[in-house]
Amino acid sequence: MKIVIIKYNAGNIRSVDFALQRLGVSALITADHDEIRNADHVIFPGVGEASTTMSYLKHHKLDTLICDLRQPVLGVCLGLQLMCSYSEENDTECLGIFPEKVRKFIPQPEDTTLFKVPHMGWNSISGLKTTLFDNISEEEYFYFVHSYYATTGVDTIATCNYLIPFSAALNRNNYYATQFHPEKSGKTGAKILENFINLKV
């Protein structure tokens, strides 16, 4: 089994690699088009800013490559947001794999102590669908850190509530994505990664 982590100008790539190593799986971190195209599973992680990252992907023709993949693909955090159609973060047109849009969390003026931005820490998710969540119970906690969120829609396979309900995970065809960080979410997060690498298309 060949797992590729897409290398680009974003942080957090090493953490995903370490999490896979803990599962006894080795991954290749690369931006090489052939390596990505020929992988059995592709992970598209990331922490960063939407517009500069999209420009980077376009410059390296990774945008069309990602959209044409046929094997299971997992976007994480910024990866999820870039797989949506549009992000309010610097008014960015994204990959459009999911029709959902990415909006900014607005702190509540009435009581800022209840809802800080970024949404940082462990939150529970519900409405779990697809085999990505096999052996994961409703209301399990996962680690989030983000200031923008994907709206809920037809592709939502897990919902989280913070200020409003948003997509904690999305799926369409071979594309999966989580807003939370499975690589930092303890044993339940590791289970998500394990479920992903067991996916067949």
Partner: protein, 250 residues
């Protein structure tokens, strides 16, 4: 619902945990990786590793340690101590740190906050503030609380937020080490003034203190060191207690 976070803090010197005694279920309590893994298994939500090594050799050891922590730990962790320029942060990020914490270096050079946030994102930058109260004035201190500065707690915290900090870690030097509870009034005021998350530190002695810091102090996370290291409070017991008090924990 977003859970309130419990964060054990480990002091590291020359790659070894400074405190941390009497753990029966791990062989080497001096090894920060072993201790960190134990805390993670017990339900710690995050960990902070503070490097208190002064020497250049020790710094290199710490970066190697951070890499080993990242390989072994499946929860987020923050590293702090001796970060005064972008390249220090870069080395720690490359080693796998989720966040860095800056304290004295941010006071001496506030622009560092802007630079770190722009280079690595706000989520990577925790600004730690040690402050001491006298005559109703909270003075920001540096070098472990030994040296007072010109800065005042509340305005400095807001400035740090405006410059791009992702979180504020406030330690009350009046409360630190007393085990009489956190500085809840000041924490609540900070929490109301900030839109970014607030980590409370200094004064934890009992489980009730954690309940108070989340309700009265309105903090998003509670940090402590010795009560966890000396096994005065076990994390599973603390979580169980907080849940019973109606506080959302993982």
């Amino acid at each position: 619902m977003l859970a309130k976070r419990i964060i054990p803090c480990l002091d590291i010197r020359d790659g070894q945990t400074v405190k941390g005694i009497n753990f029966v279920n791990i062989i080497n309590v001096g090894d920060p990786v072993e201790l960190g893994k134990l805390y993670a298994e017990q339900g710690a939500d995050e960990l902070v590793f503070l490097d208190i090594t002064a020497t250049h050799e020790g710094r290199k050891t710490f970066v190697e340690l951070v890499r080993r922590i990242a390989q072994n730990l499946d929860i987020p962790f923050t590293v702090g101590g001796g970060i005064s320029e972008i390249k220090d942060a870069e080395a720690l990020l490359a080693a796998g740190a989720d966040k860095i914490s800056i304290n004295s270096s941010a006071v001496q050079n506030p622009q560092l906050i802007d630079d770190l946030a722009r280079n690595f994102g706000s989520q990577f930058v925790v600004v730690a503030i040690d402050a001491r109260e006298a005559n109703n004035h909270w003075t920001v201190t540096v070098n472990g609380g030994r040296i007072p500065t010109e800065k005042e707690l509340f305005s400095w915290a807001k400035e740090a937020e405006n410059r791009g900090a992702g979180e504020i870690l406030f330690t009350s030097m009046n409360h630190d080490g007393t085990k009489n509870g956190f500085a809840n009034m000041e924490l609540a005021k900070l929490s109301e003034n900030l839109t970014i998350p607030l980590i409370a530190s200094g004064g934890a002695g009992t489980m009730e203190h954690f309940a108070d810091v989340f309700t009265i102090g309105k903090a998003d996370a509670g940090l402590a060191a010795s009560i966890f290291h000396f096994r005065e409070i076990a994390i599973p017991d603390l979580k169980h207690y907080l849940r019973g008090q109606g506080i959302c924990v993982r």
